[in-house]
């Protein structure tokens, strides 16, 4: 290793620009300004040797040098920014909200650009291996850049001497030369500096006044914060730190909560939907031009249960109430580390019950019955020995090539075929659709009619557990401390350099000049 000995006697590392001790520019390393003797000195990193710039021998050293470059770091950040921005152009795969597979969805929906978007993997950008690699490279660059700058800077500031080389003092931005300065005046200056909370060190009549050195560590504190945020992001990938699931629960329904290892169930007791009152004076102006009512509240009154004991999935579990409450937008119900958030509504979209009335052609009432879409009761007894049997039931009726069928299991548009039998009639068939009943026999003696329907709402809920947030908070706080430390305080130094009868005084503040 080549060492450079300065004329003050201090031994500097190869690559040093300004002597660590006396600040004299080292000739062969002053290439930055072409050894111009008049120019203001470049004070970055105290002119210390950033090692990455010097040793490039082994593979490890070369890799290290690559990541140590701020230029590389900046380009990595730019690349990640551009990629992240492109990822927002079209919806990510998990939000595409379509039954089409991704291979078709993006092309059909967005044309050629959509196809390219999909083929380059932007549809799953934020969990794609190359995006994660890019973020990881930024992390690596952050760590290595910080080590490579913090260590030499720290050493240079520790080694600095009050006695500086004349060239160093003369080539500071703020410099003055005074003749015939008395001892009194000198002491007064020192007193004033002390009052301004400068720390004074003296060496052979040379004086260094310094304050706020800690401000120089700001960027590194800031980077530690960023690294903690990255670590929090890694922790978030583990199930014990963070899980998220989505579930639709109908009113009156009890379902197992996803991502809870089948340990918790939720019951939707009631869904409440409210709108702003048009007659309320406060809202009249705002609602004047609204065609539809404006919702003011989406609320699920829910009860959460925990499974008692060990059960085999599929068995009816014994449930123990954990909590109950109203889940509103941004007002989750929380229990055992989980939070349940209101996030979707299918308002009055499904039939719960349909009530029918039966009578004979000549007006004799035969009573009524109530069909419950959730129960598999087939036969309903009517008065006078008549009875109704459900022959076929299609929860969401549609006609396909193969005849009548159901589009889903949800009773959004039930189609029911009834058969009525009685003491003095043949079998008579009826078809219920769209809240009315059609007789399927030409000569029917019975009439069925719809008396009432009851609609229910399906509530979409997010189930979330997130223990990683405190880590993000700690990282963010340290990040901000670093920002404040580096930007609201400034490292200031004043050198007093006696030279015979003369006094050379120079000042330096670590703060970019905006007007030069």
């Amino acid at each position: 290793m080549n060492k450079i000995k300065c004329e003050c006697g201090h031994i500097n590392h190869e690559g040093t620009v300004l002597c660590e001790a006396c600040g004299k520019p080292i000739k062969e390393n002053q290439h930055i300004d072409g050894n111009d003797q008049q120019k203001v000195l470049e004070m970055r990193y105290e002119g210390s040797a950033r090692r990455s710039k010097t040793y490039k021998r082994t593979f490890i050293d070369k890799t290290w040098a690559f990541f140590s470059s701020v230029k590389v770091g900046v380009w990595l950040i730019v690349a990640a920014l551009i990629a992240a921005a492109i990822g927002t152009l079209y919806p990510q795969e998990e939000f595409k909200n379509s039954v089409l597979p991704s291979s078709q969805f993006y092309e059909e929906q967005y044309g050629l650009t959509g196809k390219i978007f999909y083929q380059l993997g932007f549809h799953n950008l934020y969990s794609s291996w190359w995006f994660i690699t890019l973020i990881a490279l930024i992390g690596i660059s952050l760590v290595i850049c910080s080590i490579d700058r913090f260590v030499p800077l720290h050493r240079a500031l520790k080694n600095q001497k009050a006695k500086r080389h004349e060239v160093f003092v003369r080539r500071q931005r703020f410099f003055s030369e005074s003749e015939n300065v008395t001892e009194d005046e000198k002491n007064k200056l020192i007193e004033r500096l002390k009052k301004k909370r400068y720390k004074i060190t003296e060496d052979d009549g040379h004086i260094l006044a310094e304050k706020n050195r800690f401000s120089r560590w700001g960027p590194y504190v800031n980077h530690i914060g960023l690294i903690i945020i990255l670590i929090a992001g890694i922790l978030r990938m583990f199930d014990f730190m963070h899980t998220e699931g989505y579930i639709w629960v109908r009113e009156g329904e009890t379902k197992v909560l996803p991502t809870t290892e089948q340990q918790y169930y939720i019951k939707n007791d009631k869904f409440i939907y409210e709108t702003y009152d048009r007659n309320d004076e406060r809202f009249q102006e705002a609602l004047k031009n609204e065609e539809f009512d404006v919702p003011s509240n989406f609320q699920t009154n829910a009860t959460v249960y925990k499974v008692k004991g060990d059960i085999i999935p599929g068995q009816e579990p014994e449930l123990e109430k954990v909590t109950s409450g109203s889940i509103r937008l941004n007002e989750p119900v929380t229990f055992d580390g989980y939070g349940i958030y209101q996030s979707g509504t299918q308002l009055k979209s499904e039939y719960k019950t349909i009530s029918f009335n039966a009578e004979t052609n000549n007006g004799n009432g035969l009573g009524g019955f109530k069909f419950d879409t959730n129960k598999d009761k087939r036969i309903f007894k009517l008065d006078q020995g008549y009875q109704v049997e459900i022959k076929d039931y299609y929860p969401q009726f549609e006609i396909t090539e193969e005849g009548p069928s159901s589009f889903s299991k949800y009773p959004r548009n039930p189609g029911i075929i009834f058969e009525v039998t009685g003491p003095d009639i043949e079998k008579e068939r009826f078809f219920y659709i769209d809240e009315s009943v059609i007789a399927l026999n030409d000569n029917h003696t019975i009439n069925l009619s719809v008396e009432d329907t009851e609609l229910i709402t399906a509530s979409g809920l997010i189930v979330k557990k997130d223990y990683s947030l405190p880590f993000f908070l700690i990282g963010a706080v340290i990040f901000m401390i670093g920002v404040a430390q580096g930007l609201y305080w400034h490292h200031r130094r004043v050198w007093i350099h006696p030279k015979g009868e003369q006094f050379l005084i120079a000042g330096h503040t670590n703060k970019k000049l905006v007007w030069s």
Partner: protein
């Protein structure tokens, strides 16, 4: 900070390897999240449901020693209905050789399953996952989805989407118990 070049090289190597290993671990964990909880090779989660035809309970773990096909289906799913006759045909052929089928219907209302069952004349066990608990357990997204379970209880194959008669027979042979 460093006495010599060697310590610096060691320091750099250690820091770089920690960073690179962390990156590789993150990529590995991330790749795991794309896979379903129940992947091929994992043990199949046990469950118990009541048979619709005779009311007896059927439990997956009690079928150990047999090759089991778990077929998630619903009456409103067209392709599911199409593969039912294939399953019936092969069930007749392979039942004696130790193949069992559990058809898990995820319908809501039992009536619609009964109507379907009577129409198609099926003989393999049919169970009803009324609340979607088993569907959630097996992370079933599209219908039909079929799990083929080895006699030792591990998952041999997961098939999302409909099956042809040929493919179904090939998969049955994969999970056929060896005598």
């Amino acid at each position: 900070m460093f006495k010599n070049k060697k310590t610096r090289l060691v320091f750099r190597s250690v820091v770089l390897s920690i960073l690179v290993i962390t990156t590789i671990l993150v990529l590995y964990i991330n790749s795991l999240q794309d896979n379903p909880i129940l992947a091929e090779g994992d043990p199949a989660e046990d469950f118990v449901l009541e048979r619709l035809d005779n009311g007896e309970e059927i439990q997956l773990s009690e079928l150990e020693g047999k090759g089991v096909m778990i077929n998630f289906w619903a009456t409103y799913c067209g392709p599911c209905k199409k593969e039912m006759p294939y399953m019936e045909e092969l069930y007749q052929k392979y039942q004696d050789q130790g193949i069992e089928i559990i058809a898990v219907s995820v319908d809501k209302n039992r009536m619609v399953i009964e109507n379907f069952y009577n129409r198609y004349n099926l003989s393999f066990p049919l169970v009803h996952d009324k609340n979607g608990t088993i569907m959630e357990l097996y992370n079933v997204q599209p219908l039909p989805t079929s799990y083929f379970i080895n006699p030792d209880g591990t998952i041999e194959r997961v098939v999302k989407g409909p099956l042809t008669l040929d493919r179904l027979e090939t998969y049955f042979k994969e999970i056929l118990p060896k005598e």
